[in-house]
Subunit: 182 residues, 2 copies
Amino acid sequence: MKVSKETAACHRAALLAAAGRLFRERGFDNVGIAEIAAAAGLTHGAFYTHFESKDALCAEAVEAITRAAAEGLKAAPGLHAYVEAYLSPLHVFARGDGCPFAALCGDAVRQSPAIKASVARGVDRFIDALAEAVEDDGRSPSGRRAEAIQTLATLIGGMMLARTASDEQRHEILEALKASLL
Amino acid sequence: MKVSKETAACHRAALLAAAGRLFRERGFDNVGIAEIAAAAGLTHGAFYTHFESKDALCAEAVEAITRAAAEGLKAAPGLHAYVEAYLSPLHVFARGDGCPFAALCGDAVRQSPAIKASVARGVDRFIDALAEAVEDDGRSPSGRRAEAIQTLATLIGGMMLARTASDEQRHEILEALKASLL
DNA sequence: TGTACATCAGTGAACGCGCGTTCACTGATGTAC
DNA sequence: TGTACATCAGTGAACGCGCGTTCACTGATGTAC
């Protein structure tokens, strides 16, 4: 049955939100259209009135969650606090709500060009945001960008290590990285 | 038909080698038993005379390639040279023969406990090897281990970023990280 | 050393399952009069 | 404002496909005599 335009717009937003969460929790290939639709209160058939394909949804969901990640960084009370929260056990376990890069970079390599490009744009935006947050001790813009890249690599590499690590390892990894970045 | 014990042992080794390469190239879930068996010159049915399940193969393949990675580091002419080679465009594209952590950490989070444990053991061995390779300026063992963790996080995070990045981004990322680690 | 036979690595058809996608259909929405 | 009807978001059955795994069978191996 038909549904009002506002309701349809809500459904689309719900699909994107569910996809953003589920993809981060389990990766692109381990979440089905039916599950995403169900999480948004729909059946799988309705999905195709909102998105052309799963691939199109993936690209759009990546766009959304990477934009949110950059906004989250800009809204943080400072790089120090951001890094502290990033390298917390909470973030290790809250995958569905966490950093899209730590959750999906490994997957993205093997996805379609559209998805890879979406992730690459997100990475670029996030590096920009990090470069602005880095302390300005009179360094050149390119120097700050280089430091931003190093911080990002350490954060996402560290998060992935912490997520596969055993309980004892996890603590050691998070503490070592906090000490080196703060 | 039956086959001599040596031949069977070769087949098993070939299955492990093919799995190690294919898993790194495309991830655990995107490579089928039939493809691995075919790469080893067998049909899929024969696979089950060598391994109990795909999961068992994954765990054993991870064990093999992470051991090889640690040995490769120990055999390197120095940490400097190792990092230089790690952060090279060659490594970005040679996934099947490259670092198992950069290739599989993202996947491993979602795999069975056996696979996760296998990766975690590999990470531990690799950190040990890195801690030995780190320069000894009179630091404590735990200080060297912390530096090893930071180096590993930066390397695998950087490799994953470089692998999803666009052509221009890739160069910038690799150069920034080499500058920070060397 | 030669023969007879049990073993078992390998084959390929078949299974159940979940996936992405399609499509005929339904019925509330919202527009045209 | 009220009515008639075209639109189209949503439903659920169905599709083809590839997957991991099983299993009856084959025939070379390697052992027992």
